[in-house]
Amino acid sequence: MSENLKYVGNPNSKAADGIEKILGKAKYVGDMTLPGMLYAKLLTSPVPHAKIVELDVKPALAVEGVKAVITADDFVDHGFFGWPVKDMYVLAYQKVRYVGDPIAVVAAESEAAAAAGVAAIKLKLEELPVVSDMHKALDPDAALVPLEPQIGDGNLLVTHLVRNGDPEPILAECDVVVDESYNFQAQEHGYIETEGVFAIPEPGGTVVVFANDQSPHINRDNTAGMLGLPAEAVRVIQPPVGGSFGGKDDHVYQFTGQAAKLALITGRPVRLVLTREESLATSYKRAAAHAHLKIGMSKDGVIRAAKTEYLADSGAYASQTPLSAWRASMHLAGAYRYEAATVDTKAVYTNNGYAGAFRGFGNTQAAAASEVAIDELAARIGMDPIEFRLKNCLRTGDKAFTGNTIDHEAGLTQCLEWVRDQSGWAEKREALGFKTGDDVLKGIGVACYFHGSGLGGEGTDYARITLTVERDHSVTLQSGLTDYGQGSRTVFTLIAAESLGVTPERIVMLRPDTDTALETGPTVASRASIVGGNATKVTAGKLVQKLNMAAADLLGCSLEQINRHGEDFIGPNEEPLAIEAVIDHAFAMGLQMSSQGYWQIPVIHWDFEKGTGTPYYTYSFGAQVAQVEVAKATGKIQVTSVWASHDGGKIIFPKGAHGQLMGGITQGLGYALTEGFSYKDGYPQKKNLKEYHLPTSLDVPEMETHFVETNLAEGPFGAKNLAEPVMIAIAPAIANAVFHATTVRCRDFPISADWLKSQLG
C-alpha cells in the first residue's frame, strides 16, 4: 500500500481492551452480581437417547429457596429454534438426544438451593437405542435421532458435493495413487471462561440479558421468538468474553432463553453460569469426521485428479454442521491444481454430543486429511515435501479444485519458501529422520493450506458500524460484531483512528448491545476484520466529510483545500486548527456528528445442487513446519520447534495477529496430540480438564511466526482474514514430521502415543 499509515500495522499497537483485563477489572458475566439475584442450575440428561416419560417439576418448587422451574412447555412452540436447520429446543422436548442435553432449569436464592431443586425434579426416562457410530447412522435399522427426518430418510442431515470434471479416467491412468482414510475425533473449544448469561427483568415486561455469546443480534431474535415477544422487548449485551473459538453460540442461545424466561417469571435477575463439567458435557464440539481421499499424480510429481468423500458426525443436533461440512467440502483436496476433482460429503445425526462451529470450521479436518495425503504422494516418489508442494500448489491465476480461479494475489509460495528457509529445512531433512537404534526419534514436517475468506456461499457477508463524535471530543464506535479475544475491538479502533486521523486513545468502543448497535450479521468465519474493518472505513469517510466541512467553514476555504497534520486541520493559510475547535464548530453548525456505514463482500455464487461455482471471493494461505521428537519407549511426541507463515494481506494489529497465529498453532497442536473428545455408546469419555488435556506452556515450543502481506484491494487497507486458518496446518505438519522421524504414517487424530508406540515395535 502506498498510504503512509500511522496506526494500522503499527507493531507497537496494544489491545484496546487490554487495560481492564490486566488490572483484573474486566467484568465477565460470572463476575456480575445484583441485589436480589437468583442462581440458575440445569438438569441435564444422564443418558444418550431416551423418551421423556415423566417430567414433574413440582417437587423442586417445594424446595426451600427455589423460585421457579422451567421446561420446554414454558416456551412458545417449545422453544424450537436453530439455523440453518431448525431442530433444537430451548430445553429437551419429548426426548433427550445426548448426555448433557438440558431438560429443565431451576432458579433459586442460592446455588445450593438451585442444586437441591434440580435433584428434586422427578424425571422418568425410557431409554431408546443409541446411535453412536457415524458410519452406522444411516443403516436401515439405526434408531432415528431427530424427532423427524431432516432430509429424505433417517439420520441424514445434509449432503454437499463438488463436481469439477471426471477424476475416474484420469486416476486410472495415474502412475501413483494414494487411496487412504483419515479419522478425526471431536475437539472441545476449551475456552477458560465457561458459558454464562445474566438476565435482568425490566419494568414493562422487557428483559436485558448479558450473554457471553458471539452474535448478540441472532441471540436476541432467537430469545424473542422463544418467549413470544417482539425483538424490541429483548436486549442482549455482550460483556467481555473469556474465549469462544466458535464455541459460544447455539447453547448460549438456549441459556439466554432460559434465563430470560426465569427472570420474567420471577421478576428478579437470574444468573446462569456453567460449571466446567456442565460445559464439557453440554457444549457443542468440533465434529468428529472421516475423510477418504484418492489422489493421483504422474511419476514426475504432477498432481492430476482427486476423488474424495467426507463424513461428519453432527451428533444430536445440526447446529453449524451443515455449513462446516460445506466448508470442509470446499477445501478437501487442498490448495493444489487438479485436472479434475470431486467431493461427496454427508453429515449425519448420532446420539453423541452435538457438533457446531469451531475455529477452522471443517477445514481443520479437510486440511489435515489432504496435507497428510499430499505428504504420502511426495514420499511415494521420494520428492522433498516442500518442493512437491511448490510444484503443485495454487498461485495467482490458477484454478482451485472447486473449479474457480484464484484471481486475487496468492501468497502460498512465499509462505512455503519462508518456512523452508527459516527452519533450515534442507539440512534438517538430511540430519534428522528415522534411524534404527535411536531412543529419541527426530523429524521435521510441513503442511500448508488455503482458506476461503468470510462466509462465502454460506450467506450474505456484510457489516454495519456506527461512529459518533461526542461533545467531549471523543469518538464512540459501535458494532454488533464482537470480540471474544481475537482482537476485533482493537482492529476496529485502529482502522477508525487511521481513517479519521485521530489518535486511538480518542476512540471509545461501546459494548455490543442489540439496543444500540446496528444489526450486523454473526461474528464468525474470521470475517470481522474484513467486513467490520471496511464498514468502519466507510463510516469514517462520512464523518471526515463533516469534520472537513466544519474546518472549511471556520477557515473560509473549500473542502479540497483542507489538509491534515496529525489531528490538526490545515487550511490555505497553513495555520493548524485543533480538532477540538473543528468538532465544537461542527456542533455549532448544527451538523449531526454521527454516521453509519455498511460494507458487503462482493457477491459470489456457488450452486449447491450442481456442486459448481465460486465458493469464496478470495482466500488466505499459509504454511507451517513442525519439528518433533518421538520417545520410542512411550510413543510420546514432543513438538520442539514451529515455524509458521500466513498470507493474511495487510496486518492491521501485528501483536494481536502474531498472538492469533501462535494461539491457533497451540490449539492445533492439542488437536494433533493431547485432546480428542470421544464417545463410547454415546457416553463422553472425558468429563473435566484433568481428563481433557489442553496444551500447557510445556507442551508448546517457541514459535517463529511471519506474515506474507499480499494486497487484497477489497480488504480494509489490504487485509485478509487470519483467525481460523492459522490453526489448521499444524496437526498435519506434526503428523508429517512424525513420519519423517519414525516412518509411521499417522492418519488418525489425535495421534495416540500408545498406538504410535505399538507401531514402533
Binding site: I22, A26, K27, G485, H658, S697
Partner: protein, 159 residues
C-alpha cells in the same frame, strides 16, 4: 468459625465454613472478582493467587487455613494509584492478553516466580506457568512479558 488474614496488605476477618474455599471467599463474599473461576477443581489455574509468597490455586485452597496468612490477588498487584504494575503493563505491551480470562492468574504465576527467581530462563518461566492454562495466546507472549519484567527489575526498573 472466623479467620483473620492479610489481603492485599489490609487485615480482614471473615466468617468461613469448613467447605469454603479461598476463591469463593474472594469472589462471593469480598467481591474481588479479578480472581477467575475456570474449573473449580484446580485444573486450569485461572484462580491463582499468592499466599505467603507461594502460588496457590484459590479454588482448592480451604478458607479455614487462612488464619494469619498473607494473600495477594490481582487487585493487590497494581500500583497504589491504580495504574498497572510493571508486570501487568508488560502483559499489555507484549500482547500477552487476548480474551483476558487467564490473565490475572498468569500475572500471579509470574509474580510468584519473580519473588523467588529474579533472573529466570524462558524454560523456568514455562515451568512456573505450566499449571495455568491459556487457550488464546500459545503462551509465548506471556513468557515474553514475564521475561521482560525480570530483566527490567534486574536493571533497577521500578516494580
Amino acid at each position: 468459625m472466623e479467620v483473620t488474614f492479610k489481603l492485599n496488605g489490609e487485615t480482614v476477618t471473615c466468617p468461613v465454613t469448613t467447605k469454603s474455599t479461598l476463591l469463593r471467599l474472594l469472589r462471593d463474599e469480598l467481591k474481588l472478582t479479578g480472581t477467575k473461576n475456570g474449573c473449580e477443581h484446580g485444573d486450569c489455574g485461572a484462580c491463582s493467587v499468592i499466599v505467603d509468597g507461594k502460588l496457590e490455586k484459590s479454588c482448592i485452597y480451604p478458607a479455614r487455613n487462612l488464619d494469619g496468612k498473607e494473600v495477594l490477588t490481582i487487585e493487590g498487584v497494581s500500583n497504589s494509584d491504580g495504574t498497572p504494575s510493571d508486570l501487568q503493563q508488560a502483559f499489555l505491551d507484549a500482547g500477552a492478553t487476548q480474551c483476558g480470562y487467564c490473565t490475572p492468574g498468569m500475572i500471579m504465576a509470574g509474580e510468584a516466580l519473580l519473588l523467588k527467581n529474579n533472573n529466570p530462563t524462558r524454560q523456568d518461566i514455562r515451568e512456573a506457568i505450566s499449571e495455568n492454562l491459556c487457550r488464546c495466546t500459545g503462551y509465548q507472549q506471556i513468557v515474553d512479558a514475564i521475561q521482560a519484567t525480570a530483566k527490567s527489575r534486574l536493571n533497577g526498573g521500578a516494580k
